[in-house]
């Protein structure tokens, strides 16, 4: 009986296949860009990845913990400024940066989380907006660390390992950023599957019932928030590694909003969808819109509007719908579980 239970506890689609497909797709896309001779493309795409990773972190909090957040820019900022300061003082090993940024981001998100996870819905959203605003204001005011409202520029390139040459070539930076983004995303996806996902669904959809079954809802949400902070910290380090400059606006409300909207476009609970959503938004803003100067807001706005109408439930829902349509073709529909319940009541 218990084996039977476990068989159904797991995801019913063969996980290896799904994962393999996703990884292959991501790798393919990156390789395609990296193989292209246009170094313009390399830099531009590499610069999208920090925001993509930030969006993943936002998706974790928004989709899985059910707390729509603009506040992940706080750990993002911590990761970024930590990395920038380390690099400017001569510590230029990427791994050290990433580690410090992850820890710093997690610590800050953990601290903020102790207050924030007690709130829900719009109140949480507004509190996280306050966090975003405070982050940007602090970054602007704390001139010793941040260089003021004009920010920092000319941050030295990181080295992958001590002794290796600095990470300079556009293609190399792209490959490095893509690897880190993909790895961090997949770790997050891996951590949020199966039972953890189920527990978070329970905590999110009926908190009182979850409590009455002994689940420490605040603790769950706090842990998710903190871990997502670590992810945002890594994204911040990546921001410095790909841009080598930073201004307070890069860790402010605008970026937070973009990340949250990317999550909605991607489909709130899908981390990979969030990353893809962020990349789409930035492609429109940084590649398409530069062709029609002055109308970037128009294009982005149109993207959002189209996104809402064409992709209800986000990109992920689209793939599910496509898959359903494909599988429904030759075979008859699988028996719905509801059937049994209609006919037999004991």
């Amino acid at each position: 009986m218990s084996a039977f239970t476990q068989a159904f506890a797991a995801d019913r689609t063969p996980p290896l296949l799904k994962w393999g497909a996703t990884i292959a797709l991501a790798a393919g896309a990156v390789t395609a860009v990296a193989m292209s001779p246009a170094s313009y493309l390399h830099t531009t795409v590499a610069r999208m990845l920090p925001l993509a990773l930030l969006a993943v972190s936002v998706a974790v909090v928004t989709g899985h913990a059910g707390l729509p957040t603009l506040g992940q820019v706080a750990p993002y900022a911590v990761g970024a400024y930590l990395t920038a300061r380390l690099a400017l003082t001569g510590i230029d090993t990427a791994a050290v940066h990433l580690l410090c940024a992850a820890v710093g981001g997690a610590v800050v998100a953990g601290l903020i989380g102790t207050v924030l996870v007690r709130y829900r819905g719009t109140v949480f959203l507004m509190l996280s907006l306050a966090v975003a605003e405070l982050t940007a204001i602090t970054a602007g005011q704390w001139r010793a660390v941040s260089g003021g409202t004009d920010g920092l520029a000319g941050i030295p390139a990181p080295r992958l390992l001590p002794g290796l040459p600095p990470l300079h070539g556009d293609r190399m930076v792209l490959l490095y950023a893509a690897t880190i983004t993909a790895a961090a995303t997949f770790v997050a996806v891996w951590l949020l599957r199966g039972d953890r996902r189920m527990l978070l669904t329970a905590a999110r959809t009926n908190e009182d019932r979850a409590r009455a079954s002994g689940h420490l809802v605040y603790t769950y949400l706090w842990m998710v928030h903190t871990a997502a902070g670590g992810l945002a910290g890594i994204a911040g380090a990546l921001l410095i590694h790909t841009h080598r400059w930073i201004t307070p606006a890069d860790v402010g409300f605008g970026v937070a909003a973009l990340a949250l909207l990317a999550v909605v476009i991607g489909g709130a609970r899908s981390l990979i969808g969030a990353a893809v959503g962020a990349v789409i938004v930035l492609i429109v803003r940084d590649i398409v819109a530069v062709e029609v100067p002055g109308h970037a807001p128009l294009l982005l706005g149109t993207l959002f509007v189209i996104g809402v109408y064409l992709l209800p439930g986000g990109l992920t829902a689209l793939t599910t719908r496509l898959r359903r349509r494909l599988s429904e073709g030759p075979h008859s529909a699988p028996p719905a579980p509801a059937n049994a319940s209609v006919r037999r009541t004991s």
């Binding site: 207050v115 509190l127 908190e207 949250l260 476009i265 706005g301 996104g307």
Partner: protein, 289 residues
């Protein structure tokens, strides 16, 4: 700081707060009461402001015409939003946010294309441009006029939202649409009415606020943010709450910033945070009973 300066600053805080209350009025209806997270609110205000700035000519008649025109344009914008969000019912605030944010970006871009990127200001009748003496200090007449209009708007808003059947139906529609249909009221009509009213109020706010603050490319974002803060701090759809919150914001932005100037950049956000944190955490899906 001298006491009487503090008094006049406090008075100004209240007046400024009431100006913000007008700006937030539309959002109080749409988001606070009607549950539509309308991020295009700021753009409607800016549109009203631009219309007022381009139609006024320093006469009372043109001022009246501008106010009416701005209100009508706002209502039309609200109707567009109503049509756009109609298909999104039941898909949550984030989808609404994405849509209205997109519309706001498009609208903002169109406004700068049409009206240019300069900061504009309506030309007011001379009688409104001057100052009067309040407790020995000069005080602008236009702000006093806005104060009067704000009190009027708040009073009407209070009666409609809290004392009339319409207000109850709006809140009922947010709570359970199907049951509103079940008593013979079409919830879609309620939705549309909410957004059209909210848009009209936004247009009106644009016409009233631009003489004091001017209207330019940054207007939409600033007013949206302040309105959001007011609506959320005021406790969603409560007119007295929103007015109190607006006055609070006004006072923080006047008395607060001059008494502790070093903390000025943080004050507003900090005040909002304290207000929200002080409120008892509420768990929405209350299954307990």
């Amino acid at each position: 700081m001298h006491v009487d300066t503090l008094v006049i600053t406090a008075v100004d805080g209240v007046a400024y707060g009431l100006l913000l209350a007008i700006a937030a009025a539309g959002l109080t209806v749409a988001f606070g009461a009607g549950g539509v997270l309308n991020l295009a609110h700021g753009v409607l205000i800016a549109a009203g402001g631009y219309i007022a700035a381009t139609t006024t000519a320093g006469t009372w008649a043109s001022l009246a015409a501008a106010t009416v025109l701005a209100t009508v344009a706002g209502a039309a914008g609200g109707a567009v939003l109503a049509a756009a969000t109609a298909g999104l019912r039941g898909r949550g605030h984030l989808d609404q946010a994405l849509l209205t944010f997109g519309i706001a970006m498009i609208g903002g871009n169109l406004l700068t294309t049409i009206f240019g990127s300069d900061v504009l200001r309506p030309r007011m009748p001379a009688a409104l441009e001057g100052t009067v003496m309040v407790v020995g200090y000069r005080y602008p007449i236009d702000r006093l006029a806005v104060l009067a209009v704000a009190v009027l708007v708040a009073a009407v808003g209070y009666v409609v939202l809290h004392r009339s059947r319409a207000g109850r139906l709006i809140r009922a529609t947010v709570d359970d649409r199907a049951m509103v249909a079940g008593i013979g009221v079409n919830p879609r009509t309620v939705d549309a009415a909410v957004l059209v009213t909210s848009g009209a109020l936004a247009g009106l706010a644009g016409a009233l606020a631009t003489p004091i603050l001017g209207v330019g490319p940054g207007t939409a974002d600033t007013t949206l943010l302040l309105s959001l803060i007011i609506v959320v701090c005021g406790g969603f759809g409560s007119v007295p709450g929103a007015v109190t919150a607006a006055i609070g914001v006004g006072v923080v932005q006047t008395v607060g910033v001059v008494t502790v100037p070093t903390a000025a950049p943080y004050l507003l956000i900090a005040a909002m945070t304290v207000t929200l944190v002080a409120r008892r955490p509420t768990v929405p899906n209350g299954a307990a009973s």
